[in-house]
C-alpha cells in the first residue's frame, strides 16, 4: 500500500539551531518516528506518526483504516435486518453485547415495537456483564502500557468467569449473536442466575485488590496524574463520550440521560472524575472512572437478577422485518462511550443505509489535541486511556 509521501505543509520539520560555547552551530531537527501498525502497545493496528523533538511530542498524525471491513456496505447488500447482527458483533469485538443491544434498540424504535420485560432485564444483565469484561480489558492493558504486567493477568482471570457465563448462555465467548431485534436468541440456562450471583459476590473484593495493586500505586499515580488532561470544552467540541467525558467531570451518561431499556428502574450513579490525584480529566481520572463503573455495573446486575420477570424471550421477534420508509438515529452507552446507529429504511427488508457512529472513532480524534507537548511515554498512556478498539474505529 503506497502512502502519499508528501505531508501537508504544516507538518514539515523546522530545523532549530543551538550554538555551543565554542561557537559551533549544532542543528537540532525534529524526528518523525512511526509507532507503526505492529506495535506491542497500540491496542491493535493503529499507526501513529509522531513528530518528536527529543522525547517531547510535537505532533501526532494518526492513520487508521488497517482493520476496515466494509461493515456499512455489507449491511446494505441485500441482507435483512436480523442478519446484520453478526456484523455488528464484529465491529467492537471486546464489547459485542453492547453493540448488538444498540442496534436492536435502533431497529425496534424504527419498527415501533415493544419487547417483553424479561427480554429487557436479560439485555441489561448481559450488557452490564459485558461492560465489566470490557473495562477489565481496558484497565489490564492500561497497566501493561505503564509497565505493570501482573494486574493484566488478574483482570483476565476475572474476565474468564464472565466469559464462562456468556458461554453458558449462548455458546460463544466473544462474538455472541445473542441480542436479536425483538428479543433474544436463547433463554437463560437454569444455573445462570446462581452462577451470576456467585460472580458478583466474588468480584467486588477483586476490584479493591486491583486498586491496591495498580490504581493507588505511587509510581502509577506519578505516571498518570496530570497527563493527557482533556478540558471540558474540548471534550464537548470533539464529541467525546463515555469514560473520557465523565473523566473530565461532565455528568453525562446515556443510560440515565437518554434512557433506553429498563435502566431507570435500578439505583445506580454515573461515576465522575474529580481530579483526586491531579488535574480533572487526566488519565488517572479516566482510569478510576472505569474502575468505579465496574462497581456500579455489579450493583445493577444484582438488582436486575433479583427482579427478572417470567416470559418468553422469543415472543416478539418479528417473522419478517419490513419497517416503513423513514430513518432513525438511536444511541446507547457502550463501555467506550456513545454508540449511535443511523439507519435509513426504504421500506424493503434490507436497510438502505446503516451508519455506525462508533465511540472509539470519535474519541481517537481528540488524541492529537491532548498528547501534544508530552513525552512519548505519556503518549502511550494517553492512547491507552482513550480505550480504543480498532475494530470499532475502522469498522
Amino acid at each position: 500500500m503506497s502512502e502519499t509521501k508528501t505531508l501537508p505543509t504544516r507538518y514539515v520539520t523546522q530545523p532549530g539551531e543551538i550554538k555551543t560555547s565554542s561557537g559551533k552551530t549544532l542543528r537540532t531537527d525534529e524526528m518523525i518516528i512511526n509507532m507503526g501498525p505492529q506495535h506491542p502497545s497500540t491496542h491493535g493496528v493503529l499507526r501513529l506518526e509522531i513528530v518528536v523533538d527529543g522525547e517531547i511530542v510535537v505532533d501526532i498524525i494518526p492513520h487508521i483504516g488497517y482493520l476496515h471491513r466494509c461493515f456499512e456496505k455489507h449491511a446494505e447488500n441485500m441482507i435483512n435486518y436480523q442478519q446484520v447482527i453478526p456484523y455488528v458483533d464484529r465491529m467492537d469485538y471486546v464489547a459485542a453485547m453492547n453493540m448488538e443491544h444498540g442496534y436492536a434498540v435502533a431497529v425496534e424504535r424504527l419498527l415501533k415495537i415493544e419487547v417483553p420485560e424479561r427480554v429487557e432485564y436479560l439485555r441489561v444483565i448481559m450488557a452490564e456483564l459485558q461492560r465489566i469484561a470490557s473495562h477489565l480489558v481496558a484497565v489490564g492493558t492500561f497497566g501493561i502500557d505503564a509497565g505493570a504486567f501482573t494486574p493484566f493477568l488478574y483482570a483476565f482471570r476475572d474476565r474468564e468467569l464472565i466469559l464462562d457465563l456468556f458461554e453458558m448462555t449462548c455458546g460463544a465467548r466473544l462474538l455472541y449473536n445473542y441480542i436479536w431485534v425483538g428479543g433474544l436468541s436463547h433463554d437463560l440456562p437454569p444455573q445462570f442466575i446462581d452462577k451470576c450471583k456467585e460472580f458478583c459476590t466474588y468480584f467486588k473484593p477483586r476490584i479493591k485488590q486491583f486498586n491496591d495493586l495498580l490504581t493507588f500505586n505511587e509510581i502509577f499515580v506519578k505516571r498518570t496524574a496530570n497527563v493527557g488532561v482533556l478540558p471540558k470544552d474540548v471534550a464537548l467540541n470533539y464529541a467525546c463520550s463515555g469514560p473520557m467525558l465523565r473523566g473530565s467531570g461532565i455528568n453525562w451518561d446515556l443510560r440515565r440521560d437518554d434512557p433506553y431499556s429498563v435502566y431507570s428502574r435500578f439505583e445506580w450513579q454515573p461515576q465522575l472524575g474529580k481530579g483526586e490525584m491531579g488535574a480533572v480529566g487526566d488519565t488517572w481520572d479516566r482510569h478510576i472512572v472505569r474502575m468505579r463503573e465496574m462497581e456500579e455495573s455489579v450493583r445493577i446486575i444484582e438488582q436486575a437478577l433479583a427482579g427478572i420477570p417470567a416470559g418468553n424471550v422469543q415472543a416478539a421477534i418479528p417473522k419478517r422485518i419490513r419497517p416503513e420508509a423513514g430513518e432513525i438515529y438511536a444511541r446507547t452507552e457502550t463501555p467506550r462511550g456513545e454508540l449511535g446507529y443511523y439507519i435509513i429504511s426504504d421500506g424493503s427488508g434490507s436497510p438502505f443505509r446503516v451508519k455506525a457512529r462508533s465511540p472509539a472513532f470519535v474519541n481517537l480524534s481528540v488524541l492529537p489535541e491532548i498528547a501534544r507537548g508530552g513525552m512519548i511515554a505519556d503518549l502511550v498512556l494517553i492512547a491507552g486511556s482513550v480505550d480504543i478498539v480498532l475494530g470499532e474505529v475502522d469498522r
Binding site: 500500500m1 503506497s2 501537508p8 483504516g65 467540541n237 464529541a239 456513545e338 438502505f352 443505509r353
Partner: protein, 158 residues
Amino acid sequence: MTAAEILENVKSEFGDSVVESKLDVLQPWILVAPERMREIAYFLRDDPAMQFDYLMCLSGVDYNNGKLGAVYHLFSTVHRHKIVLKAQCTKEDAHVQSVSAVWGTANWHEREAFDLIGIVFDEHPDLRRILLPDDWEGHPLRKDYKVSEFYNGMNVPY
C-alpha cells in the same frame, strides 16, 4: 425547544437557505443549502436559545437518485434538545461547506464521508482518505460503485 421552534429560528435567520423540512417524523429534519452550512452551524451552536454544542454524528448518504447528502445529528447538552440537519448535492458537483471549524469532531467524520461517499467538504483543513488507502480509486459506499479489478497489481475480487 421543539423542532418547529428551531425551524422558525433558522428560517428567520437564513430564510432562503432552508430548502425543505419534515417535522412529523420520529426525528424531525431540516434540509439546508450546502453552501451556507458553516454559517448555519455557527448560528445553531452559538445562539443562546439553541446551543447545539454536541455533534452526535455526521453521515454521508448516497440517495440513489443522483444525489448525495450529508446528515448532521445535533444535540444540545444545555437544553437537551436534538435536531437533524441535512445538506444535499448532486453527484457531479458534490460540495458541502465544512463545519470542522465549528465542531472539532466533524474533522474525522467529514474525512470519512469524503472517503466513502465522495462529498468534498470545502475549506476542510486536511481532506484526505481516512479508512481506505490513500491511493484507492472510487468511493465504495456509493450505490453504483464497481469494485476495480486490480489494485497495485493485486487481483481484488477473488
